[in-house]
Symmetry: C2
Subunit: 570 residues, 2 copies
């Protein structure tokens, strides 16, 4: 293949009001500076002339594609309810009936488009043919609207390019920016998939301390302002997961992002924001039997509404992104369809300045090319079948579903432990939670029927305090609870010396696995720098509530409470 | 995502008879040596325990995948005839009826497999979920059979890994092997898509001279044996397209491959064989009105047979691959579904030794992950629906279709020009064609009705010779004719000085484009080394016959003959 007709790039938007991206080309590494555009540009000028007999491209005849039609049955966009019951089966409606929505929708993609000259038409003859690395024109068109309406970028000439998922996205970005031995800013706990992509560059990872809202600006400023050049070049790239951070669940709101962006701008740092969980901004966990504030209640009610008003409330509820505050084009944002459609699509996109998007296009041309046409054709047809408002409604259903699952898991913890609010004394996650909810520290419940339990009941409290067992903040976004185990409460802790944390966490993790409960050990997410979240005497589990059933959330948490209580001999 | 349950790798085959791959780890570059396997291996041991509640993976719930079913209508495997008529419409059967075969076949992939524990089942709940970088187990299973039966590797412990097409394949291979500034062996004319992937490494490309069978062994031996170390490290990697080479159309048979392999082995060179056109090994072009030899005729008859015998004849007809002669595991073979199914699948695979496949798996985990599940689910279901024999028959239909198109194009050239056999005097493509067919040099035909034409007719010859205009060898494989234009016949040639070739080819190319005939200029394929094919006084076009209609092949060639004849004022 060597014909990749180029697609119109960046449509400058709101040019009158907004600045253009600054020149960031000094951030591009040597390998990527070396990349050349396809040398056959002049050919494209002629290729589209009417009547042209093109014998230039090494492309197979679509007549010999074995696929004649592709079809899909998809769920209606309103399949998932906006307000699922907190406890399945406790409502009058059955589990099946609250998956209410309309009927399934079918569509078929034909081999040849009705109007083969319509660049927005989706047909197998084009989707299953070689395509420009930027993908079928209908896709960037949809994404540009999405970026404009949801993220509202603060400069004019941004553009998008498809990738084959966020892992491919950050792999390409590191491939574009990093030189061997560079220093790289990361969060103190971070995603191992990204580590696997940046560590081979022999990077000196500079871990930034976090709290429940993510990286702490003062810490970041301090690192950059006092950089010791003898440790090599000052870091120029910051990799971050701002929403539902993996693994901590931290979510950064607008003011914090502004502060971090200002520091990045001052020290000329490129921000790579990897946002798989962005639309899973679930809102605050509300304990059963407690009331939301009137303001929160109003937002909840608004988001329960079907139709445009509810959609608008949903968009309004999302945190501003780094793109929203980026006036210079120093942000590279990664989005993916893995959590909003399906991971197997291997489909996502990068939004950034023209200079970065151009280089990323060159990288794509010489590696992945366009994502699979099966994935793009199916996904864009699904999006266009639902329509813009339909897709917004779908995203709201997904959000409500994971909110329900988050609540299952937090409710299960609340039921199995005695939880007390904790504003930082014991809970290393808590510092300044900026309205994102308060942390809990969990204590053993007295056994039902015990004298202590009866006495507690009489007094109207759940439990009297004992040994603190674990702490967490109910996440406001994403799929994970990052749970701190108070290992220093273990009776043998001080006998085990320096290895105590690792030894005990390993032991507890295996103990749980043998009781058929599998958590992800926190150690795999450790950026191995100084910690604000955690440190001596604390071990972490990342608990994913994304795929377990309600019953599993109950039984696994009961097992966890029993094993942990015994383990710490509380 | 961070759970990628590993799939069983390399099933050692014929261990009793065949050697194991040698250790080639010294060829792996620093970046790739740095890559780490996923750190959560211990988790997988537990993850598959019955009754395990896994809260370890960051994976979305398949209940929220919008796709409920995917369906396809595919052509029957015998859709394309094995013996299409040379001239469409000249047969009694209509164009439609010789696309005979059976009826189209439909299949539907359900969301959940009937037996969810069957690792070979294809369902959307698994295909559209995160998958191991090695892809769904059913796919490597099919490919291992294909490699074993078609390529018959000469060592035991080879394995396969999926990629997202051959471009991704060689990008990963270069990413694994090349250091900045390395020397790289390439063919004197080569594929620009590969250049775009290796040139950024600032490689010193060492172009190897070719003839109609590809790289000339003596030349390669000479380059390696007399390597001047002051030019840097001796090349350790050779990138080649052995079948239907892009752009020359050269095809290397078994004996030549053995000779090249021996040289590679002697000098410790890794061979990267990129084989998009392998099953498009079309056989020799037979001019209309001439007869094949009895041996050739027998092969043609065998390949016309439906069923297992014809399939066996097809497999038998394919050239031995580098894998077939590789006893050490120094070959990395790239295959793709782009030409046999469709390019938009972005699906191919790499076959190599365990050490290379393991590193390529690490690279995939940290970039593309598995190919799109839409593509793998659709493709493997299609293959399994057709079955092994069906797929062989499909490949034969594709081969026959491109053979037909090759013949259209060569017949059109034969009709528009007066062709004479040329064994090297004028045709730079011809050296020792090893039974691959003889080259032609083309002269102007005398205009119909002219005195010269009438005289020629009377004598029973097509034309008397005049100025040689162009030369080519009808390709025995692939999609391209690499056509040499005799620029030195241009009356102004010697006035134009050193730039004559570039100036005249540019002029001729634009002249053709303005007459609505678009060829690929040869210059884009030039490895910029010394040439055996071409050189001063000759310019090249790569003419693709893969997508044009019969009528277009006639009209475009007539235009070409007219423009070229006028251009060279013959």
């Amino acid at each position: 293949m060597d014909v990749s007709p180029s697609v119109p790039v960046a449509q400058p938007r709101r040019l009158a009001e907004l600045p253009l991206a600054k020149d960031m080309s000094h951030h591009i590494n040597r390998l990527t500076k070396n990349r050349q555009a396809n040398s056959l540009k002049e050919m494209y000028k002629y290729a589209s002339l009417p009547g042209m007999v093109s014998m230039a491209g090494g492309i197979p005849s679509p007549a010999y594609f074995p696929f004649e039609t592709l079809s899909a049955t998809i769920l209606p966009y309103d399949h998932l309810p906006l307000d699922p019951p907190r406890v399945p089966g406790k409502e009058k409606k059955s589990l099946l009936s609250w998956l209410f929505g309309g009927a399934n929708i079918s569509f078929t993609i034909p081999k040849y488009a009705e109007d083969p000259k319509d660049p927005m038409a989706i047909s197998l003859a084009t989707s299953l043919q070689y395509q420009a690395a930027t993908g079928p024109p209908a896709f960037p068109k949809f994404l540009r609207r999405y970026v404009e309406e949801i993220y509202k970028p603060a400069y004019a000439d941004w553009d998008v390019i498809l990738d084959v998922g966020a892992t491919d996205g950050f792999a390409k970005v590191f491939n574009m920016l990093l030189e061997l031995g560079d220093s790289l800013l990361v969060e103190e706990w971070t995603y191992p998939g990204a580590m696997n992509a940046y560590m081979p560059y022999e990077v000196n990872t500079v871990a930034l301390k976090m709290d429940a809202e993510g990286v702490i600006p003062e810490y970041m400023e301090n690192v950059l302002a006092n950089w010791d050049d003898s440790k090599g070049r000052r870091p120029r790239v910051f990799y971050t997961v701002p929403t539902g951070q993996n693994p901590t669940g931290a979510t950064m709101l607008g003011d914090r992002k502004k502060a971090i962006y200002a520091i990045a701008s001052k020290h000329d740092v490129v921000i790579v924001e990897d946002e798989p969980y962005y639309t899973l901004f679930l809102g605050k966990y509300q304990q059963q039997g407690t009331n939301a504030t009137p303001l929160q209640q109003r937002q909840i009610e608004l988001e329960k509404q079907e139709g445009k008003e509810g959609n608008a409330a949903f968009i309004e509820s999302l945190p501003p992104t780094y793109l929203t505050v980026d006036t210079e084009g120093r942000v590279i944002r990664l989005d993916t369809f893995s959590k909003t459609s399906c991971p197997g699509s291997r489909l996502g996109w990068i939004t950034s300045s023209p200079i970065f998007v151009e280089r990323l296009t060159r990288i794509a041309e010489a590696s992945t090319q366009a994502p699979s046409g099966f994935a793009t054709a199916m996904t864009i047809t699904m999006l266009n079948t639902w329509g813009w408002d339909g897709y917004m409604r779908w995203l709201r259903g997904i959000k409500a579903a994971y909110k329900m699952r988050r609540d299952w898991m937090c409710d299960a913890l609340a039921d199995q432990f005695h939880l007390e609010f904790d504003d930082g004394a014991l809970n290393p996650l808590v510092r300044d939670t900026a309205g994102l909810g308060r942390g809990f520290t969990a204590y053993a419940k007295h056994p039902t029927g015990s004298a202590e339990a009866k006495w507690d009941e009489k007094r109207g409290v759940v439990s009297s305090r004992g040994t603190p067992l674990c702490s967490f903040i109910p996440p406001t976004a994403g799929m994970f609870i990052f749970l701190a185990v108070h290992l220093d409460q273990h009776p043998d802790y001080h006998l085990l010396g320096n290895d105590a944390d690792d030894v005990l966490m390993g032991k507890l993790w295996r103990e749980l696995a043998e009781h058929l409960v599998l958590f992800a050990p926190g150690i795999g997410f450790d950026s191995k720098g100084p910690h604000n979240i955690g440190g001596k005497g604390v071990g972490y589990f990342r608990i994913s509530y994304s795929i377990i059933t309600y019953e599993e959330s109950r039984s696994a948490t009961a097992t966890f409470a029993k094993v942990l209580t015994k383990f710490l001999r509380a």
